[in-house]
Point group: D2
Chain length 156, copies 4
């Protein structure tokens, strides 16, 4: 894949440590030439976009509301979908792989979508889940470096 | 709420026990006068619709594809959305409460959406999840009766 | 087709004559055993639903907002999509045929969708359009009877 | 508005003259610093993207299918929505203004959406429409220059 699209998913309210990881994920994605997709708002979304944007990366925000000004300041392209939380499915759909950092219920919906669609996914300090049958899982890693490396390897 | 809308979510491939629970959930919802919303296909979706339909309940199927014939035979209303898996968000959005029976990754996406939207949710033999911070959970119950009772009580 | 789904499209603010036609369309659809799909709100949408509902027909409302209470009182099933005007595409997508009565810009978007999807469509006192090349047209009729007859004939 | 987003809408099969106009529209939008939004495929979409891309403009393609490779080669960002023709609504929703060049039924749906949302719109050799009441219209112009100038003026 020439230029992979990787979504960084996580909550709009994040801890300083989650923001630090997200910013590093964004920076590494930009350095690898990936396009960063996100929900385009604050917290993990903003931090990852900042990390990518400041290194010249391309960042896409799929906003839930109808107002482009909702987007964070580090978006190359800000798209107000007006679809509310349904845009979470669009984030997973339009990305080739995903990295979850922390996250709330919206992030869990994106994880479900991503796995349903067979997208490579890595989680850092995010949800752990246990399905009704064996074998339903995704990898948990400790660092931004491990997450980016794991996802990009599967997309190359 | 006059007539609550309750989604029954779960996999298109289900075990006999999951189908038995789902059918009972459907029957109880119909007896309570609720409208049953689902993804409209097989497995847990079909079993719950059958349970409701045979007791005169109203069942709505939000189908992923563009062909109404994809729907199971127990739908009062079958709507081919053509939105693919994005229709999962629509299932959660259009229901007042949700009951998960077993389920795969698509079900997890619906659980995430439902909780993000603050919908009452009960799970029977479904996903258990652990969030990045404390307090992110939904109730797990053992029987169809407990699930329906728990959700309808919060909608009354 | 056992039970065709026909959308009645038109503006939320309608003239008494448009409402009269829409109500008659709804009544005829119910008598023919069709399911009536609409945007679920006022004006032409409400009048057509009333016509169908009072004759025991099934009526489905795909609402733009997130609140079921937005729906008119003549809906068998009211689905708040939370997708805003994007739900117009869903109205065309989920119907087998469409009947336009009067209408504003939203109705024009639904006409475009319906024709793009190859759905049979009849218009009563609605938009007339002229495309950039020849042959892009849909039939205009004078009465509710002619519209219902024209669409149902193509769906049988 | 710092950097307006303008959609160029039109058919995937276009005449040489329509492609010439579309390419010029794209070039003018890029020179004005606008972001070009489109359905991301061939014909008018491709020609407008080429015009913008070759002048260093940013081009966004909202693709109907699930495969990024459907996009034309002149997209800064290609997003496979998997929503089918429903993505037409997203094109109108995410743009601040729109320019129609020629076009088929999908273009008409986008025109309806755009006008419903109150977006500035200019049409070159595209649909002309006549609504059920007076005053429902948008401007028709003769040249790419006039279209771009008309839309950008309303967004400044």
């Amino acid at each position: 894949m020439d230029r992979p699209y990787v979504a960084v998913i996580g909550a709009g309210q994040a801890t300083p440590e989650q923001e630090r990881v997200a910013e590093r994920v964004g920076a590494l994605l930009a350095e690898a030439g990936a396009v960063l997709v996100s929900g385009g708002r604050g917290g993990v979304m903003l931090a990852s976009c900042r990390g990518a944007y400041e290194r010249g990366g391309t960042t896409v925000g799929l906003l839930p509301g109808a107002d482009r000004a909702e987007g964070n300041p580090f978006l190359t392209v800000a798209l107000p979908t007006g679809m509310g939380e349904l845009r979470n499915g669009l984030v997973a759909r339009t990305a080739d792989g995903l990295i979850a950092v922390g996250g709330g219920w919206g992030t869990l919906s994106e994880i479900g979508f991503a796995m349903r669609l067979g997208r490579p996914l890595a989680a850092v300090g995010s949800w752990t889940v246990s399905g009704p049958e064996a074998g339903l899982s995704y990898p948990t890693v400790e660092t931004a470096e491990a997450a980016v490396s794991l996802v990009l390897r599967q997309l190359s």
